[in-house]
Assembly symmetry: C2
């Protein structure tokens, strides 16, 4: 099954690329420059494509990013510190980001006669991001079945949609994913900041998975405090 | 109801803009440059925005158009002459075009807190283009309800989806749409060619509607021949 993998260069999507390469066939990786401040991640997607010896496309959709203003990921709004599932992380929502990226990838997959598209949304994304939930994934497949009816059928794979990030780390470790070559931080400077939602989530996932975290964080200790604070509020 | 109107500058979408302006409120018009050879149409969308005194955005998605190669609308493949509903018109399919454009427009509509998005797909589009059919429209709304759950609810309006182009012309005439300021031709040079699928469809729609067609066609007579040939094959 020839699969086009949406790969941001993050831990989840790089693990997904390795998983697809192991289980079937990667057609290529596709990344998006939507004006995110952490474009560093795109270098990590490139490294992943090189390691897997597959083509890599970076699609420049900055003109679209400008239309979706109001998110801390694209605008001059401060990226909040804390736990990824905190209410305060809602400022990192880029409205309709996954629907936009997936519809572009499905168009490319149809043009290249790929059998499937794979995306690395996982269970921990559900609280903040509606376009990472199983219902969204199911409805997106149905929409695409209509949109490409008679053109070319493409299946949407989201193998992590019902597992948490710790389980993604476990699977990645089993697949031999070089985690040092993945990028999570929303701040996007030289090292992982260790304080933003995705840094805290990354650190916690390694700890829960019982896998060594090779990442260098600018603030090595903040994550424990963020998790302790969040634990008071967990339902 | 503040509505963002997808407007290519064609007869259908300009009529739609006038209809929305008459019945509720146009937030703005949004057009796409996806590398189509008939970018002339974008000037007509601009004219429509000026007439209605609303903002106009042209979103440059040429980088995406390159991924969707293989269509006569974007590549160096000859645009076929003939009737719009002929099998030969399949080369004008740009895979997933409406899903891509609509998902971008929904993202913008959510960012701007619009109530609705309007698109001018009509009954005559159904045969060739799967992403113009009522099933696609319904499934797209469901997908968006999931993708923007808790962010901002946006309704998809497709008031022409069950009527033919002749009825669009009738409604446009009643609304006082300046048809001379709309562009249909896929060839995209100075005058409408009169031979491509959309020129033939436009001419036929005016004739069926009993409305004067103010358009100057390079080939004034070809449409009758194309329709006569197609009529032999109509189911």
């Amino acid at each position: 099954m020839k699969t086009l993998v949406v790969c941001s260069g993050g831990l989840d999507s790089v693990t997904l690329a390795y998983k697809v390469a192991e289980e079937s066939e990667v057609d290529s990786l596709m990344s998006f420059n939507y004006g995110q401040r952490h474009t560093t991640e795109l270098d990590y997607a490139r490294r992943c494509a090189e390691k897997l010896s597959v083509p890599h496309d970076i699609v420049d959709i900055r003109s679209i990013g400008q239309l979706l203003s109001g998110s801390a990921l694209t605008d001059n709004i401060e990226v909040p510190d804390g736990h990824y599932e905190e209410e305060s992380m809602r400022v990192t929502v880029v409205p309709n980001r996954n629907a936009i990226m997936l519809s572009i990838v499905f168009g490319a997959a149809a043009a290249r006669a790929c059998d499937a598209v794979a995306i690395a949304v996982h269970g921990g994304d559900h609280f903040i991001y509606p376009d990472c939930r199983p219902d969204f994934i199911d409805s997106f497949q149905k929409m695409q079945d209509h949109a490409l009816n008679g053109v070319h059928s493409v299946k949407l794979l989201a193998p992590f949609v019902n597992i948490d990030k710790a389980e993604v780390v476990r699977q990645g470790a089993a697949l031999g994913v070089p985690f040092i070559d993945t990028w999570s931080c929303y701040q996007g400077s030289g090292h992982h900041c260790g304080r933003c939602g995705t840094c805290v989530e990354r650190r916690e996932a390694f700890a829960l998975a019982g896998v060594d975290d090779p990442t260098h964080y600018h603030d090595e200790d903040f994550w424990k405090q963020a998790i302790a604070q969040y634990d008071h509020k967990r339902p």
